[in-house]
C-alpha cells in the first residue's frame, strides 16, 4: 500500500506517496524528476544509481524509500552550489573522465562519498572505493586521476 513519507533531497523537502519498499531510485527519477541518478542494473552491482544518504554513498536501487525518509539525501543535482561545480565535478570535467558518461553521476557521487571519509586517498584507496562502480567505456585511469586531483584541490581550498 502506498504510504505518505517525506524525503529530504538536496536540502529540499518533498512529500511522496509510494509503497514503502519501492527503491529510492525510482522515486528520485520518476516522481521528483531527478534523472541525473541513473539506472544501470537495479541490483546494486554497477553503482550508476549512487547517491549520498546521510553523507555516505549508497546504491539508491537497493534502498527502500521508507528507509531514506527523514534522512538527508544528496543526488548529483545537489552538488553544484551557486553555479559553482563541486571540486569532484570540476575535476571530472578537467580530466575528461568520461566517454558515454552514463556512469559519471554514480562515479562522482561515490568519489564525493569517498573523499568525505578519506580526504587524502591513495590510488589504491580510490580503486577500492570505486570497485563497485562500472564504467563500460573503460575510462578508469582518468577517473582515478580526477579523484586524486579533486582531493588536492579540496585540500588547497580548505587551507
Amino acid at each position: 500500500m502506498p504510504k505518505l513519507m517525506e524525503l529530504e533531497v538536496n536540502g529540499k523537502r518533498y512529500p511522496v506517496k509510494y509503497p514503502p519498499d519501492t527503491p529510492l531510485l525510482y522515486v528520485l527519477r520518476d516522481e521528483l524528476g531527478l534523472t541525473g541518478t541513473k539506472y544501470g542494473c537495479g541490483e546494486g552491482q554497477c553503482g550508476a544509481c549512487t547517491v549520498l544518504l546521510g553523507g555516505a554513498p549508497r546504491r539508491s536501487c537497493q534502498i527502500p524509500v521508507a528507509a531514506a525518509a527523514g534522512r538527508s539525501i544528496t543526488t548529483i543535482e545537489g552538488l553544484e552550489k551557486n553555479g559553482q561545480l563541486h571540486p569532484v565535478q570540476q575535476a571530472f570535467l578537467d580530466a575528461g573522465a568520461f566517454q558515454c558518461a552514463y556512469c559519471t553521476s554514480g562515479m562522482i557521487m561515490s568519489s564525493v562519498g569517498l573523499l568525505k571519509t578519506n580526504p587524502n586517498p591513495s590510488r589504491a584507496d580510490i580503486v577500492q572505493g570505486l570497485q563497485g562502480n562500472i564504467c563500460r567505456c573503460g575510462t578508469h585511469p582518468r577517473i582515478i586521476d580526477a579523484v586524486l586531483n579533486a582531493a588536492k584541490v579540496s585540500k588547497e581550498q580548505a587551507r
Binding site: F98, Q99, C100, A101, Y102, G138
Partner: protein
C-alpha cells in the same frame, strides 16, 4: 594479380553485419529545401549530395544479406550558417561516447574558419539529419570528416564570393579569419553573420573544392574537450531513459521463459479487471503500460500464460555444434586461396596445427535499451538509443503502417552501445504500447532483459594449420573460421600459400555486431598461433613477426609499441610474463604489448602493464582518440580474461553483473597508449581496432609466464595453473 591485390584495390566496404536484422528500404529524404530554411531560419546552407561527395555514403555490402536497399541517392551531409553566425552541421551519425559531436564540429570550424564554440552538431534525428546507414564499422570519422570538410570549404567559398560581389572586388585577395572576411586592400570587413542576414542561399556541393591538408589544420588535430561535457558532470544530460513528457506511462514486457518459446495458453481477464494498466497482446508480444513501472509489472504478473518451449543446447555442446553445422559462407571473397598449400607444406621445416574457441559475450552498455514513443496528429516520434536511427524509423513505419515521413526517430546522446544497439526492439515495444494506450510510453529494459534479449558477439571455432621454413618464414597458412565472422580474417603476414575460409553456422543465440566484430576472434586465433609458431622456431616473437611482415604501417606500430614497452622485457618476479600481438582493420593499425602476473597460489591472472601503439591516419582530436584507445584496451580485458555468456536450454544463466564479470577498477593495469599521427594519411575510425590485439597479447604473456598455452576466450576466468 593475386587475389589479395585484387581485394585491396576494391572500394572499402564495411564488414557486413551478417546477423543483422534486415532493414526495410530507405530511399527518401523528405525534408524539402524550403522546409529547411523554415526550420532553421534564414542563412546560408550547403548540401553535399552523394553524387559528388568524396568518400560518400555508407555502402551497403552487396553480396551479403544486410541492406537490400539501393544506395541513398540524395543528400548526405549539410551545413547551415544562420543570421546569428551560429553554424550547424547535420549528420545521421549518433553520439555514443566516441566523441563525434566534438570531433566533427572541430573539422567544420577548422575548414570554415570560425571559432569552435560557434559550431553545433545535430546528430541522428531522422527528420533533421541526412540519411545514414548507421553508426558502426568505425565509419563516422572516415565518411563524415571528408564530407563536412568539403561542405565547409564550399560554404567558406560561397561567403567569400558574396563579400567580393558586395565590394566589387576579386575574391582571390580576400582573407578569412574567425568568421570574418577582410579585404586587405580597402580594409573593409564583414562577418559571416552579416553576409548570411536575410538570405536563403543554398548550394549543392561543387564538384571542385579545396580543403585544407592535415598539416595546416588549426582547430582539428587539437585536444578539445567534449562539447557538452558540463551536462554530464551535473546530471543534466537526458539519455533516453531520462525523458518524462507529461502524461507518460511506463511500459513493461512479459518475456517468454526461454528463447523460441511460443504462447500455449493466454488469459488476461483478471489482469484487465484488476489493474488500470493497458495490456497488449500482439502475436507473441505481451506488454503493459501503466502510470508506474510497478503497476505495469503487477498487471503482467496477473496474466495467466503458459508457454511451449523448445529444447536447446548449452555452452557444453557449443563448439562441437559449430564444427558439425558449418556450411560454406556465401561472402564474396570466401574462401581466400593463394598459391599452393602443397608447395607450402613441402618447404616446411615445422608444422603447427591448433584450434581456438571464442565464447558468446555481451556488450552490456550501462544504458540499457530504452525508448520513448509518442503519437500526435497521426505521426509517431520515438526517442531511442540506437546506432541505426533510419533503420529503426523504417521498421517502425512498416509495423504501424505509416509512411516513413510520418515517423521520426531521435537519438539522444547515448549511454553507449559497442555494436550492441543496431536493432529496434525497445522502440517497437514502446510504440505498440503507446498506440494502444494513447499516451506516450517509455520502456527501459532491465539489466536482466539486456543480458538476455539483446544480442551477443557470436561464438566461434577457428582451426589453423600452418608451416614455416628453416628461416622462420611462413610457407603455408590455413584458417577455418566457424561462425565467428569474417572481419579481420585476412592475415597481415606475408605467406604465399594460403587458404582462409569462413563457415557459416545456423544461428544459435541471437548474435550481431560487437566492437571490432569478428576481428576480436580472428586476431585472437591468428596472433596466438603466430606466437606459438615463433616458439616452435625458437625465434623471439617480435623478431618472428617482423620477419614475416612487409606492411610498413603494421611494422611501425609494432616497433613503436615494442620500443616503449622495452621488449623483450625483464622478469622481475616469478610468474611474470610478456606477450605481444598486432592487427589491422578498417584502415587503422594496432600493436599491443602486455605484462602479466600469475598468482603462484591461486593461479589468478593480473594484467600489470599494457603498452599499445595505434595509428589511424591524421588524428582529429588526440584527447578523444586517447580516451577511445585506452577504453578499448580496458573493455578488451573482459573478453580476454573472464567474460562469457552462460546458456542452457534457451535460457541465459548469468544475466546479471554479479555473475557476468566485466572489468572493474581493480582489473585495470598501467596503460600507455602511443598515438602515431600520420598527417599524410586520411583519418580512419578508431572505435574498434584498438580492442583487437589485447586478448592475444595477454594470452601470449600467460604462456611466457607459465608455459601453458590457452586457446580459448575467455582465457582464464578461473585462473591458470602451471
Amino acid at each position: 594479380m593475386s587475389n589479395h591485390a585484387a581485394r585491396s584495390k576494391e572500394k572499402f566496404v564495411p564488414e557486413p553485419e551478417r546477423f543483422e536484422f534486415r532493414a526495410a528500404p530507405i530511399h527518401k529524404f523528405e525534408l524539402a529545401r524550403r522546409d529547411f530554411f523554415h526550420l532553421l531560419g534564414a542563412g546560408i546552407a550547403i548540401f553535399a549530395s552523394s553524387k559528388n561527395a568524396s568518400g560518400a555514403q555508407e555502402l551497403a555490402p552487396q553480396s551479403k544479406s544486410f541492406h537490400k536497399e539501393d544506395l541513398p541517392e540524395d543528400i548526405s551531409a549539410w551545413l547551415h550558417i544562420g543570421e546569428d553566425g551560429v553554424v550547424t552541421g547535420f549528420t545521421g551519425k549518433a553520439e555514443i561516447g566516441q566523441n563525434i559531436r566534438t570531433s566533427l564540429a572541430q573539422t567544420i570550424a577548422d575548414e570554415l574558419h570560425v571559432l569552435f564554440e560557434s559550431v553545433r552538431m545535430v546528430t541522428a534525428d531522422t527528420t533533421l539529419s541526412p540519411f545514414d546507414a548507421g553508426t558502426f564499422g568505425s565509419r563516422s570519422t572516415p565518411t563524415m570528416t571528408p564530407q563536412f570538410r568539403r561542405v565547409a570549404a564550399a560554404a567558406r567559398q560561397l561567403l567569400v564570393a558574396e563579400a567580393a560581389k558586395q565590394w566589387n572586388v576579386a575574391p582571390t585577395g580576400l582573407v578569412v579569419t574567425d568568421a570574418k572576411i577582410t579585404d586587405p586592400a580597402s580594409g573593409r570587413s564583414a562577418r559571416y553573420a552579416e553576409l548570411a542576414k536575410g538570405k536563403t542561399l543554398s548550394q549543392v556541393l561543387p564538384a571542385e573544392d579545396h580543403t585544407t591538408p592535415a598539416a595546416q589544420w588549426t582547430i582539428a588535430g587539437k585536444e578539445i574537450a567534449k562539447v557538452n561535457a558540463r551536462t554530464f558532470v551535473t546530471g543534466a544530460h537526458q539519455y533516453t531513459p531520462d525523458l518524462r513528457p507529461p502524461g507518460m506511462l511506463y511500459g513493461k514486457v512479459l518475456r517468454p521463459p526461454s528463447f523460441g518459446a511460443t504462447i500455449a495458453s493466454y488469459d488476461d481477464g483478471a489482469a484487465k479487471t484488476h489493474s488500470g494498466a493497458v495490456i497488449v497482446r500482439d502475436g507473441d508480444f505481451i506488454g503493459a503500460a501503466a502510470p508506474t513501472v510497478a503497476e505495469a509489472q503487477e498487471a503482467l504478473n496477473a496474466i495467466k500464460v503458459t508457454w511451449k518451449e523448445v529444447p536447446q543446447i548449452s555452452n557444453r555442446e557449443l563448439f562441437s555444434y559449430l564444427k558439425k553445422n558449418g556450411v560454406p559462407g556465401s561472402a564474396k571473397h570466401n574462401p581466400i586461396k593463394e598459391g599452393s598449400l602443397e608447395d607450402g607444406y613441402s618447404h616446411a621445416a615445422h608444422r603447427l596445427d591448433a584450434a581456438y574457441t571464442v565464447e558468446y559475450i555481451a556488450h552490456a552498455p550501462l544504458e540499457p535499451r530504452a525508448a520513448l514513443a509518442q503519437w500526435g496528429e497521426g505521426k509517431l516520434t520515438v526517442w531511442t538509443g540506437t546506432q541505426r536511427p533510419f533503420a529503426v524509423r523504417d521498421e517502425l513505419a512498416a509495423v504501424v503502417h505509416l509512411p516513413e515521413s510520418s515517423v521520426r526517430v531521435i537519438v539522444p546522446d547515448m549511454g553507449s552501445a559497442y555494436g550492441g544497439k543496431h536493432t529496434s526492439d525497445a522502440a517497437l515495444e514502446a510504440t505498440r504500447l503507446a498506440r494502444a494506450s494513447g499516451h506516450p510510453v517509455k520502456l527501459v529494459w532491465t539489466r536482466e532483459e539486456e543480458f538476455t534479449w539483446a544480442y551477443f558477439r557470436p561464438a566461434g571455432l577457428i582451426e589453423v594449420k600452418s608451416a614455416i621454413d628453416v628461416d622462420g618464414k611462413l610457407t603455408a597458412w590455413e584458417f577455418d573460421n566457424y561462425h565467428a565472422g569474417m572481419s579481420g580474417i585476412d592475415t597481415p603476414y606475408v605467406v604465399a600459400n594460403q587458404r582462409i575460409e569462413y563457415h557459416a553456422v545456423p544461428l544459435l543465440l541471437r548474435s550481431g555486431s560487437y566492437r571490432g566484430l569478428a576481428a576480436t576472434a580472428n586476431h585472437f586465433a591468428r596472433e596466438t598461433h603466430i606466437d606459438a609458431l615463433a616458439r616452435v622456431a625458437q625465434i623471439d616473437p617480435l623478431a618472428f613477426r617482423l620477419k614475416n611482415l612487409s606492411d610498413i604501417r603494421m611494422r611501425a606500430v609494432l616497433e613503436a609499441a615494442a620500443k616503449s614497452f622495452g621488449w623483450p622485457g625483464r622478469k622481475s618476479q616469478k610468474g611474470r610474463g610478456f606477450g605481444l600481438a598486432i592487427g589491422n582493420e578498417k584502415g587503422s593499425y594496432v600493436a599491443t604489448c602486455a605484462e602479466i602476473a600469475v598468482d603462484q597460489q591461486s593461479g589468478a591472472v593480473k594484467v600489470v602493464r599494457i603498452v599499445e601503439a595505434f595509428e589511424c591516419g591524421a588524428i582529429i582530436n588526440p584527447d578523444g582518440l586517447r580516451n577511445q584507445v585506452v577504453g578499448a584496451i580496458i573493455q578488451g580485458l573482459g573478453g580476454a580474461l573472464f567474460e562469457v555468456i552462460q546458456f542452457e536450454n534457451g535460457k541465459i544463466t548469468n544475466p546479471h553483473f554479479a555473475n557476468y564479470r566485466v572489468p572493474r577498477f581493480r582489473d585495470v593495469p598501467e596503460i600507455e597508449a602511443i598515438l602515431i599521427d600520420r598527417k599524410d594519411l586520411a583519418s580512419a575510425g578508431a572505435g574498434e581496432t584498438p580492442i583487437m590485439a589485447i586478448a592475444p597479447a595477454i594470452g601470449n604473456a600467460i604462456f611466457d609466464a607459465t608455459s601453458v598455452r590457452l586457446n580459448t576466450l575467455p582465457l582464464a576466468p578461473k585462473g591458470v595453473k602451471a
